[in-house]
Symmetry: C2
């Protein structure tokens, strides 16, 4: 059988990785897929540079609009990133009956419902394994591997940059800004790291995971997003002493009242595998009602790990592009007519455990005042410790771990605590999850 022809939109890190792995492993891939996969064309800004990479067998185009119109191309691989142009090109490819493979989480988080609706209409596939957790086949695991389960929740380390920074802050005891600068020098963080460190990238991915786990529309606006730029390394150290690691987690849970969707730094018990995912690696923990806990770990970014996911999608498309669309795995795991508009829970209604660090004057009665306010707010204390003041200081830190409490109650209790004259700084408040 002739190879299937694909076009690459973009030849950056992921595009280049995809091209390289397709070439290097072409024989292995053909042995599996039963058919070769051939890059017919690439669309790039720098045509000269691209020619040097892809050689003379591949057409290099400067106009991506022209690539998506080529009749010889069956699958368009969108690895250019960005929103507006990528959206237009993907929709154009779909309109022309082409299948799409994309690594673009921002695009799908913002425009996924529109894109998948168009694809459904046209009977084409839009595959996006590479958009979440790089090389880890988590989309496949959730959509197919766990299809027997009612998924209860997902908690994931799905941004490698922030996990790398947190690992370094803990290991070296250095402040955030210094570690970020290191990460940028090493290429683990971009020049503008905002999306990574402020939790936006993780929220994009979590939004997609939530949708395929629970059969709900993609709703990025529902996500509560906190990043790691405000974290102090002393809280990482205190957490460690208490038996916890701080990780930037994306968490989505199905509750009786609706669905939680939140990204924030989280204390995780040290003995959990998820707490031991270090450096730039990713891991996703899934709780299903039948299977219990499963965890998926691997590289969440990088040229070839992401290419691994892109190509797995290509092989899937090669296998199923002649099938009746109704027999394919639905884009969002659930049949389009079975997507439900479950309510999204506000952060105020979230129930979780908390870590507080409270800077107080070293005076009698402080602890009693704080404990009193927490009790009035229905916030039950799990553990509390007060540090000895440093030599010559008359202030100290009180560290509190709570049992599960309602976020609204916690917010109001903190407001009251901060009004105590003996409380000297804003309360540091982090969330804690047991994940079992």
């Amino acid at each position: 059988m002739n190879p299937i022809k694909i076009g690459l939109l973009g030849l950056g890190t992921v595009g280049r990785g995809t091209f390289d792995v397709l070439r290097r492993n072409q024989e292995e891939i053909r042995r599996r897929a039963g058919r070769g996969i051939e890059v017919a064309a690439v669309a790039v800004r720098d045509v000269v540079k691209a020619r040097a990479i892809v050689g003379s067998q591949v057409e290099v185009m400067s106009r991506p609009e022209a690539l998506v119109c080529r009749p010889d191309i069956d699958i368009v691989v969108e690895v250019m990133g960005g929103l507006d142009l990528a959206r237009r090109l993907v929709l154009e490819a779909i309109a022309r009956g082409k299948h799409v493979v994309t690594a673009n989480k921002a695009l799908l988080a913002m425009h996924g419902n529109e894109i998948f609706a168009a694809a459904h209409q046209q009977g084409v596939m839009v595959a996006f394994e590479a958009a979440v957790a790089g090389g880890i086949p988590i989309i496949k695991a959730l959509r197919e591997g766990l299809s027997a389960n009612r998924i209860e929740w997902i908690a994931g380390i799905i941004n490698g940059t922030s996990n790398f920074i947190l690992s370094q802050m803990r290991d070296q005891g250095l402040p955030f800004a210094q570690v970020l600068a290191q990460a940028q020098a090493l290429g683990y963080a971009e020049a503008d790291p905002t999306f990574d460190i402020e939790g936006v990238d993780a929220a994009h991915k979590l939004t997609l995971l939530s949708s395929i786990a629970f059969g709900v529309p993609i709703t990025f606006a529902a996500a509560h997003v906190e990043g790691i730029s405000g974290l102090a390394s002393e809280d990482l150290a205190y957490a460690e002493q208490l038996g916890y690691r701080i990780k930037l987690l994306g968490i989505t849970k199905r509750k009786a009242q609706g669905v939680e969707l939140r990204v924030h730094p989280t204390l995780v018990p040290k003995q959990r595998l998820l707490a031991n995912v270090e450096g730039a690696m990713n891991a996703v923990l899934v709780k299903g009602d039948a299977v219990g806990l499963t965890l998926y770990y691997g590289a969440g970014a990088g040229a070839e790990p992401t290419a691994s996911a892109v190509i797995a999608d290509l092989v899937d498309v090669v296998r199923t592009h002649t099938a009746d669309p109704e027999h394919r795995v639905p884009h969002l795991a659930f049949q389009p007519d079975a997507i439900e508009n479950l309510p999204w829970l506000s952060m105020d209604d979230t129930v979780t455990a908390y870590y507080f660090r409270i800077r107080v004057a070293d005076q009698p009665g402080v602890l009693a005042d704080i404990a009193h306010i927490l009790a009035q707010g229905n916030i039950s204390i799990n553990a509390m410790s007060q540090r000895e003041p440093a030599q010559g200081q008359n202030q100290t830190d009180i560290i509190i771990l709570t049992h599960a409490a309602v976020e609204r109650d916690v917010r109001m209790a903190i407001e009251r605590i901060e009004q105590l004259p003996t409380v000297l700084s804003p309360v540091i408040r982090l969330r804690q999850e047991d994940l079992n």
Copy 2:
């Protein structure tokens, strides 16, 4: 669309779990699959007991041969276990054009080539996600999720019973026999635990993983199999002191000269996620050339985790049973005409690092003699420690970690060491893998 009708061969732990989850999650499964899955009949030995479980809507049959012949059944689910009868029934179902879902690793490890050839001939699917690592979708990850990769090696904790026993031996410092008895009392080990504790069950599963990773025929006879019944808890303690955990691993590697296939207790560096998989849980670590390391973790046994895998296979079959067989995922990941007869490496040719514990007389020169023999055998020492003899004893243990060495050289060196008059007992020899 009418539900697809299935028949269950067996209503033991897994059969019961499958029945329960299919019923409990029927709506969730239908929302994903687009079609219901209905148990039309079960074949069991104890008809009265089964009737009480399945109710009046499901036909209870005492003759499994009759179930596989029913024209209304599209998929036969073999969850009865055993070899000869299961083989006959599966082949009969295939001959009648029925798809098969099975959780039977022993059956596939012994008769898989015959069964898959028959299925290919008939254009039906034989799905076996539940046969390896219970609820972890590892077959799907390897066959589909990592299809871009040249797989380099797999190392897995794929027998929960032995992992549970090892965790308990380490935590409690108790000998193997005592912990086995506990495990039996708790239901974590069977009355006849041989297959679990002697590595046979792990080797069955590893044989299947090796085949789908490398595109080689299923060859259980090629596996080198060592279990945990000979392990002393003091070696678990020594390993711990050196920074390692001992795990029963199934390891298969593609080398230039051929494929390694081996199950044995293995020292793993403590900081690896795989070293932190505790109790009856399973985990499989896969190294692919593009994706790097990925790990898959979850419950490796139990009614509902295994049912999760059985039902995921059912959903896959529901989706693809009308497809052209050539477009389905091949049974062994590679197209049938692309399966290669790579040579299997003998254990003597295996290259790995080693742990030795050598009981010696507390005399000068002992260490020098041992070091001399190792040097002559091209075995390079990574770390060595000699314990102080216990009070009033004139013998002690020397612990040695080696760098990578050839097993044949190690075997011959141990023979020579055991002939030293100062060496008082057979040398304890375990293998060590870095897994990075």
